[in-house]
Amino acid sequence: MILESDVLNYLMEELNGDILEAYKQRERRIFVKVKAAAVRRAVQALKKRYQTLRFMTLSAVDLGLDMEYLYHFHIDGIVVTIRSLKPKEDNTLESIADLIPAANFIEREISDLFGVKLINHPQPEHGLILTKDWPDDKRPLKKPFEGALPPKARPVAEALISSGCVAPISAFIQKKREEAGLQKSSALVFTSESSLNEFQGILKEINVGEKFGFDWEKKRLRYK
């Protein structure tokens, strides 16, 4: 119990704002979710403080839109997992093989099976468990780039999140509305910047971007 708290507190102190979530799942089992850019710093920090640190393995999970990487370490009877998400648009994995030589083969295995490109790996090329000429678009564990929504629901969800309205208005309908003495559009949320900011602020707080796979910068779903 003392060691578990020590690891959690130490990582929170060392990584500060780069920790997204840290919790004890059960006795002698803790998870620390960090930003993808902070994985190497987390590993370095563990290595620096815990002399008995042992790298167990690295798991990779294709979540559809993102890859999840889980680095499992053993320290004096407890298992610490550093987990991070990487968008699949960035099809790379930064190696920790220079810090933890035992990660060399599992990183190559993941690279072969999911088709991710290794960065700063001593042998970044494919060909550990598959042939070197294995086609990139047929990696056995790589899933299609898909989010949770079925195809026909995507335009509706995209319109809802980006404009607060699921039905786009045409110039023809705007003209007809004006002819009938109505405003060009009804007082929907997208007609007022402050209302739209409020609406989208609420969606961001509920983490709709992650749940629906919506890119707030590009204002569209990450998948079509």
Partner: protein, 291 residues
Amino acid sequence: MIKYAFFLGCQTPMRLPNIEIASRKVFEKIGLEAVDLLGYSCCPEPVVSRLIDEMSALAISARNLTLAEELGLDMMTLCNGCYETLAEANEILRHDADKRRKVNEILKHYGKEYRGKSNVKHVIEVLYEDVGLEKIRSQIVKPQKIRVALHYGCHLYREYKSSDIMRKPMMMREIAAQTGVKIVDYGLERLCCGYPSMQANEEFSLKNRLLLKLSKMREAGAEAVVTACPACMIQFEIGQVMLKSYGIQYNMPCINLMELLAISFGIPYKDLHLELHRSPVLQLIQKMGVV
């Protein structure tokens, strides 16, 4: 004067403004003040938003409901889908303290708080309960003699006040009957028009839902279908256009209940912009003798 916060939704103002136009003219005639909700959003759309996350849907609905609460008014919807989404969210948030707390934790960052003070009503309930059949009847100057089939729409059967799911459909039936139309029973009133299943399987939706309804309506002698919901109207109108690609043609005119009332109230058909319909409504009104 009867006064309601007017929740227009998305489809009506953006795709079917003819329903909004007819509704506003009907409201004027019967003395119903519909106060626009400034900055409202989609209710949200009941099919897609529930696929992912209940809390997202509840928070969006709660924000809309607070707009009515801020006006100190009950809310009135024109659309069955908006009605169900908002009335259901209202019920959940009124009775589930944990969900209400979670939603209010988010809303408070924007100076809002859901209090559960506003009721949500479909326009049919407002017409029946607040305006009354007598007042509606008193406005009829052009009684209609056509035979119509009613399509109530699935979400109109959603009931939060009683256990009688036919409460609102029967209200719609009685309101429509005030215009003089002959309502024909076709036996498939409860069947969905197919609008939601269009998002999953177009052919199934058109052939196993819309086509079944249209054929039974035609067999029963209906000259037109009257709906209470803009989404159902889209299915009946655009769906008939799409059925042509399968070699099936029905040419069944489809109008909204509010349009039927407006025509019967003597509002000039040109003011109602009925040309926006994708089904032969202009031919129907010639038959109705209002051209």
